[in-house]
Amino acid sequence: MATAQTTENGPASAAVHTAKQMGRFNRWDTPWLNTKLLLGIGIIASILLFGILGNLFWDTKLALTGKSPLNLPPVGITTTLGGTLTGTWAHPLGTESSGRDMLALIIVGAPNSFLIGIIAATVGMGLGIFLGFTSGFVGGRTDDIIRLLSDVAITIPALLVLIVIQSLLRQVEIATIALLISLFAWPTPTRLIRAQVLTMRESGYVQLAKLSGASTFSIMFREIMPNLIPYLFASFIGNATGAILAAVGLETLGLGPQRIPTLGGTIYFSIQGAALLRNMWWWWGIPTLLLAVMFVGLLLINLGFDEIANPRLRQSSQ
C-alpha cells in the first residue's frame, strides 16, 4: 500500500510516503507463544509422557537385575568383546552387565529425575519466597540476617555438603534426596524475590495500598505477588534444573537412591563396570543422551521465560 492519503493533487499531498500500512491486529502475536518456550515444553512433555506411559507398552520389571541376558548391545549391533553378542528386538536398547534392560531403565529413571527436580525446586522456592518476601518487606535486622545467610549458603558448593550427608545416610528414597537438595535451593530464589520486593515496595501502587490501610499481608499477596509471577516461573525452572543436576551428580558417585533405578545411577554402574573400556557405549550413552535432551529442554524453557520477561532479548531470535 503506497499512500495513506486519498486526495488529489494538493502540492503537499503529492508526497507519496512509503510507510507501511497498519497491519491487522494479530492474535498470535502474544509474547507467551515464544518458540523457545514451546519447544522446551514439548521436549519435556514428551519425555515425561514416555516415562509415565512407558510401562503400558514395555515391561518395567526388566529394569531389575538378572531379568535379561547380560551385556547385550542395542538391536542391530554386534559386539565381539568377550564373545559375540547381537542385539535383539526383545531388548532394543541393549542390556548391561547385571542383566538390566536399558529401555526399562530409562522408562523408570526419567520420571524419577523429574520428580526429584520438582520436589526440590518446589520446596526450595517455597522457602525462598517466604524468606525473600520477609527480607524485602520487613527490612531491618531480619533483612540483614537473611541476606547474610543466603550469601553464605550460596557460596558453599552444595554437592560437597550433600556428599558428606549422603555418604552417611546411604539408603535413601527419592523424597529424601529431594529434600536434602532443597536445603541448598533456597538462596537464589530468596535473593531474587527480595530484590523484586524491594523494587516494588517503593512503587506507586504499593504506597497507595498502604495509604488505603491494607494490611502488610494483603499487600504482599494482592499487590506484589501477581507481578512476580513471571520471575517465579523462570526461577522455578532454573531451580529444577539445578536440583536435577545435583541429583545426577550424587547418583553418578553412587550416592543416589539404591533400590530405585535412576539415570545417574545407571551411569554410576557403567563406570563401575568399566563400560568405556568394554566399549559398551549404550550403557552410559543412552542415559546420557536422555539427560542431555532433558537439560536442553529445560534450558529452552528457561530462555523462553527470559525472553518473555525481557522484551529486548527477543530482537534477533523470534
Binding site: 495513506a4 503537499a12 499531498s13 512509503t18 507501511k20 500500512q21
Partner: protein, 342 residues
Amino acid sequence: MSQQKSQKKPVLEVKDLRVYYETPKGDVLAVDGISFDLYQGETLGLVGESGSGKSTAAMGILQLTVPPGRIAGGQVSLDGQSLLDLPEDKLREYRWVQLALIPQGAMNSLNPTMKVSDQIRDVILAHEGAKAKNGLKERVLELLSTVGLPGRVYDLYPHELSGGMKQRACIAMAIALNPTVIVADEATSALDVVVQRVVAQTMLKVKEKLGVSMIMIGHDMGLMAQMVDRIAVMYAGKIVEIAPVRDMFADPKHPYSELLIDSVPSLKERKPLKITEGITHDPRNPPPGCIFQLRCPFVMDVCRKDAPPMQEVKPDQFVACHLYQANEDGSFIDVRDVVRNT
C-alpha cells in the same frame, strides 16, 4: 541578525527529512517531512510538545537513528556535503569534528566507568590522533574552565557530579573539537530551574565565544525565547512555523504557535490553561490534509483535504496553514481578518 540571511550560506540544510519507526502494527511517522536551513552563527530552536518528533529529528540529523527507527527519505547536508549517503567510516570524520551533540539528561549520557576527563580526552584523541597527547591535559582543563567547572572535576567520575555539573561537562565535551554545528537535545530539561539558568548561561557564553551554529531542542517556549535567534515549531512530525524569535512571540501565525506561546505563564496576568490535550491522532495513520486539524480552533474544510504548503507570509516568517492566502502581489491575507470584517 537573521535579516541578512540571503547573504549567508547555510551550514546545515535539512530537506524533507523523514524518520519512521517500524512497529508490528505499521510505521509510526515520527518525523514526516521537515525542512529548514541553519545559518552560520545562529541558534535555531526546535520546539514542540512530547511526541512531536523533535528528538527523533535530532537523531536523524546526527545520523544516529537506530532500529526500529530508520531514515525513510529526505536530505541532510552539512556544508554542502550530503550526510545520508556517506558510509559509516567516512561519516565518522564528520562526527564531533563538525557535528556535535549535547545530550539530554546528562543523567545517563556519560560512561559510568570512565572519568569525565577521560571521556573528553578520548574524543580528542580519536579524531586528532596520538599527536594530540601533547598538552592534552591543559586543553581539557581549559575546556572545563570555559564551562565554569573547577579543575578538580578532572579526576572525578560521573556519579560524583551533580546534574548541572554533568550537563556542563557534556557542553565542554561538545566544544572540544570546535564543531561547526552543535545539536543540543533538551539540554536543560532534566534540571531544576536554578541549575537550568546556570547551564543556559554557559551555553550562551560558549556560543558567543566560539561562534558555533546551534540547534536547540526543547519544549519550554519561555526558555527558548531567551536563547535562540529563530524558532521552528513542530507538531506531530511536521514543522508548522519557522520565524525569528521576536516576530514569533510578537505575532505568531500558526494557531499551534499561538497556543504554545499563550501557555507560557506570565507574571502580569492570569491566563486560563489552553492546552488540554496531547496529540489526538494515531501517529501511524495521520489524517489527510493538515495534521493539526483535530485540535485547531480555526479548522476549515480545506484543512481536512489538503496539507497546507509552507509559505513566507512575512519576511523570514514561514508558516504552513490554510489561514493565510496569497494575493497576486505576493502579500498574504489572514482569512480570519476577512471573516471578522464582513
